[in-house]
């Protein structure tokens, strides 16, 4: 069923963007986290996504020699951003010179990620609605002259 393939593809895109938003929210939430429960510093994460071949779509595209499908999260990689050093003598996590290391998170870049994720999610919803509208127009064939 190829309209179901369109649904599955848009849905996988939404899943990826949702993951991107979750990870960005996690990064933003930990801007001021000096250490985790295990004592190590939080390292900002980044979502790496890639194409996922969908068996339902492969059959339709095989005639053109292409393999297409939805998207999927390939991996969650910690960025190698250097820690942000803040002079806070007396802080329990301060080093011998009085500096506390916070995760190297760039709030501006994270906000940009956030906006991109939301807009891409919206684009996936629009694509899905277009597929749905197309299927509904097909069901209108021969019915009541609309």
């Amino acid at each position: 069923m190829d309209y179901l393939a369109a649904f599955a593809i848009s849905g996988s895109g939404m899943t990826v963007e949702k993951m991107r938003l979750d990870v960005t929210a996690m990064n933003l939430a930990n801007v001021n986290s000096s250490r985790g429960a295990d004592g190590t510093m939080f390292q900002p994460l980044r979502v790496v996504s890639g194409v996922r071949t969908d068996p339902r779509f492969e059959a339709a595209m095989a005639a053109w020699g292409v393999q297409l499908g939805g998207a999927q999260v390939q991996q969650l990689v910690p960025t190698d951003a250097p820690p942000r050093m803040v002079l806070e003598p007396g802080h329990p996590d301060a080093d011998s010179r009085g500096f506390v290391s916070y995760p190297g998170i760039n709030p501006v870049a994270e906000m940009t990620n956030l906006i991109t994720a939301v807009r891409t999610y919206e684009a996936n919803v629009v694509a899905l609605n277009a597929a749905k509208t197309m299927a509904q127009r097909a069901l209108d064939i021969g019915g009541g002259g609309r």
Binding site: F7, G11, T15, K18, V125, Q136, G143
Partner: protein
Amino acid sequence: MSIDAVGFIPSATAQAIESKLPGSAVGTGTGTGAAPASGFGDWLASEIAQVNDKIQSADKKVQDLALGKASNLHDVMIALEDTKLSFQLMVQIRSRVLEAYQDILRMQV
């Protein structure tokens, strides 16, 4: 089952349609070996049963969402839309069948 009178359906298409219907004489046997009496009615019943299964699984997903077990919202919405389209298709088939039935009822004897 012969559709010779309806000339605009290519015979290859007609054969393909007939071979999909269980219990049709032309069908080369899909392996299930349905009873000869079964036909369009049984096929329609199985399709309706599939739509019913879809409705029930969508219902289950909404229940999971309400219970906080769903992993994401869009999967539930996509399942609902999918179910809605299947149901609309079923309603369209029903109205076409009823139209044909009423056309036959109106026939002059």
